[in-house]
Assembly symmetry: C3
Homo-oligomer: 284 residues x 3
C-alpha cells in the first residue's frame, strides 16, 4: 500500500524513481506507475471528480499513451480510475460541448480522435480495470482496451442518444465489433446502459467481479498477455484495428465537421443545456 | 376494442378522423391507425390470405412508409398482420416470379428494393409484432424493423434456398448483422426455418410471447423507444443502416439484372412451378 | 467396415472402382472415397504423422478439391483425418518456414493461398469431422468448411502468436466471421486454443461428440445439406464467401510479400528455430 501511495504522488511530465523499483510519471491528471521488473504500467485516470474527458484531460492521456508506446521497457498497460468503486470515467465532458465556437468544438473533437487513435492502436496489451461506472466515452475508453474487468453493480454503455447526440462512427464500430452489429445498433439507438450482469451476458465485458478483485484480475489477465511473443501480439492486434484507425485518419477533417455541425444544432444545444442545468440542481 | 374495430375500417389512400382521436388511412391492403396522443402508428398488413408480397402490395407498403416518414406527427411504427395467430407474412409472392417476362420481373424486383429501402431506412423506431409465421420475405420484413416480438410456436427464417433461389444481398446482410456472419451463412445456405425458441436463442428475435402479448409487448417497447430524443435516435440508426441503403441505391440496376437472370434460369422456373403445383394440390 | 478398409487403399492420382460401388482416388497423401449412390466424397487427410501442411501436401489437397469441384457426380464432402482420435491437422508445417529462401517461402505461401481458395470456395457442402486436435492451420482448415463436428476433449484454435507469427488476414476473417470480431481479435492475439467445450460455447464448432460419433454426425449433417437444391446452396454460400476469395485473388502477390517479409524477420526465425529444437528434444 505504501509503495503505491508513494509512487502515485503526482508528477506532471516529470519522471522520478522511488526506492521500490518503480518509475512514476504522467501528464496532467494521468498518473503512471511502471513496475520495472514486469514492464507493466498502471495508468490511473485522476481528473476530479469523475474523470470527465475534457480536451485537456484527453490530451494528457494521448501524450501518456504516446510515451508509453515509445518506451521499449513497457510490456503492457492496466488502465483504471482513481475514483475506485465510484466512476471509471463519466465520458466526454459536456461543458466542452455547450455554448462553444466552431473552432473550439473542432479542437475538442480533434483531441477525442487523438485519444481514440493512441489508445485503440496501442501496440501492446491494454487491460481495463473498470472500477466504477462507465457511461458514453467512459464505455468507449474501456472498449478501446483488449480486455475488460468490470466492478459488479456498475453500469456501462454508449448512452449518447439519451443526451440528444449520437456516438461518432468510431465509437459505433467499437461496440458493434464487440457485441455484434444488431445488438450494437439497438443499444446505441436506445442509449442503453448495461448492468454489470447484462454487460457480461452481451460480451461487452469479460469479467464482473467484486471491488477487491477488479485490479488483481485485470493484472492477472495482463500478466498472461505480456507473455505472448510481443511482435506477434502487436501484429495480430494491428490486423484487426489498423484498418479502422486508418479510416479515421483518412477522414479526420470530415469527421470533425460532422461533429461540429451536429453539436451546433439548436436542439442539441438545448438538450445539453438542460442536462447541465439538471446536473447543477442535483449538486445543490 | 371498439375503437380499433372502427378505426381499421378500410380507407384506400383517404384519411379520416374518427371520434376517438385516431386518424385512419393507408394504401391498398395496408391500413394505418395513428394514435394522435402518442404519435404511434399501427401498420396492419392485410393482403388476403397470408400477406404474400406482390408488387402491388409492396408498392402500397412503400407508399405508406413514405407518408409516415414525412408526417412529423408520427413518433414510431408498430408493424403487424391482420391474420393474427396465423401468418405475419408468407414472403414474396411466388406467382410474381413464375413464367414472367424480364421486364415484369424487373419491375417486381424494383418494388422489392423500394420496400426494403423505405422500411429499413425508416428514420423513427419500428417494432415488428410478428403474430404468425414469417418465412423468407416475411422474415426479411421483420429484420428491417428495430425490434421483434414473435408469437410463441411460430417459425421465422430466410428459407429461400429451399425453393431453389437465393436471398438477395440486402436480405443476407439483414440476417448476418442480426445473428452473425457464419450463423447467417449456415441458415441461408440450409434455408433454415427457426422455431420460436431457436429464433430467441439466436437473437433473431428479441422476445417470444403468447398470442395475447404480441401486440402489447411490441407496443411497450415502442413506447420506450419513442422517448429517446428522436433526432439522436434517427442519427444513430442511420449510422448503421445508411451505408447499406446507399450500397443498394448505387447498384440498383445491377441488382435487378442479377435477380432477373437468376429467376429466368430453367431450373429455378422448374422449382417454382413445382412449388406452385404443390400449393394448388394442397388447397384442394 | 470392410468396404471402407478396402476403399481407402492408397492410390496416388489413380482412380479405381471397387466392388462396392465406390470410386477411390486422390492425390499424394489425400485419399478420396466417393459413394456412387449419394455422391458424398470422404476426403481423408493422411500425411504422417500429424497431417502437417507442407507445400506438397497442400498442393495435393488443392488438386483434389479442384477435381471434386469439377465432378458433377459429387454432392458434398466430408473432410477428416486418418489419425482418428489423435490429430485432425497440426497446421502449417514449420519446417517449410525455417531457414528458407525468399522464393521457397513465396512458393509455400502460394500453396497456402491455393488451399484456402479451393476449400473455402468449394461450391458444394463441406463438413469437417474434426477427429483430433486442430491447432493453427488445422483450425483454419475446419473453419473453411460449412459445418464442424469436433471430437470431445480435443482442442482447436488459431494459436499462431504463440509461435511468434501472426495468422494471415484470410485466417483472421475465417475466425471473426465465425465467432465475432472481438472474440476473434482476443483469441488470435492471445493464441488461444479452445477446449472442445469452449469451442462449442463460442460457436467455433457446431457439435462436440465422442469418437464413435464424429464421422456419423458429420455425415448426417452432410446428408441434410446435399438435399438443398444445389444451385441455390452454391449461390447462397458464394454470396458470403465470394468477396473474401476475390479480395485475396486481388492482392495475392502483396500477401505473399507480407508473409515472406514477416517470416524472414530474425526474431521470427529465432522463435521457429527454438520451437523446432523443442520438438526434436521432445521426440528423443
Amino acid at each position: 500500500m505504501l509503495k503505491t501511495a508513494l509512487c502515485r504522488t503526482w508528477l506532471s511530465s516529470k519522471t522520478s524513481f522511488n526506492t521500490f523499483g518503480r518509475r512514476c510519471f504522467g501528464h496532467g491528471n494521468v498518473s503512471v506507475d511502471l513496475q520495472s521488473d514486469t514492464g507493466i504500467a498502471t495508468v490511473t485516470l485522476s481528473e476530479p471528480p469523475v474523470n470527465s474527458l475534457s480536451g485537456e484531460f484527453l490530451t494528457s492521456i494521448s501524450k501518456t499513451m504516446k510515451e508509453l508506446s515509445a518506451d521499449s521497457s513497457v510490456s503492457g498497460l492496466l488502465i483504471t480510475s482513481k475514483f475506485h468503486g465510484k466512476v471509471f470515467s463519466a465520458g466526454l465532458n459536456i461543458l466542452e460541448m455547450y455554448n462553444k465556437s466552431d473552432s473550439y468544438l473542432g479542437e475538442f473533437w480533434r483531441s477525442v480522435q487523438e485519444w481514440y487513435i493512441d489508445t485503440y492502436n496501442f501496440p501492446k496489451p491494454v487491460v481495463a480495470a473498470i472500477n466504477g461506472h462507465a457511461p458514453a466515452g467512459g464505455c468507449a475508453f474501456a472498449l478501446m482496451c483488449d480486455y475488460r474487468v468490470l466492478l459488479d453493480g456498475k453500469t456501462i454503455g454508449l448512452n449518447e442518444t439519451q443526451l440528444g447526440i449520437a456516438a461518432p462512427f468510431f465509437f459505433t464500430y467499437l461496440m458493434s465489433s464487440t457485441i455484434g452489429i444488431r445488438q450494437a445498433e439497438l443499444a446505441l439507438a436506445n442509449g442503453t446502459m448495461f448492468s454489470s450482469d447484462q454487460a457480461l451476458q452481451a460480451n461487452l465485458v469479460d469479467e464482473v467481479v467484486p471491488l477487491d478483485l477488479v485490479i488483481p484480475n485485470a493484472m492477472n489477465q495482463l500478466q498472461k498477455m505480456i507473455k505472448i511473443p510481443q511482435p506477434a501480439f502487436s501484429l495480430s492486434k494491428g490486423q484487426f484495428r489498423g484498418p479502422n484507425v486508418k479510416k479515421l485518419l483518412g477522414e479526420r477533417e470530415e469527421d470533425i465537421a460532422t461533429f461540429v455541425g451536429l453539436l451546433q444544432k439548436p436542439y442539441v444545444q438545448k438538450v445539453l443545456g438542460k442536462y447541465l442545468e439538471n446536473l447543477k440542481n442535483r449538486k445543490k
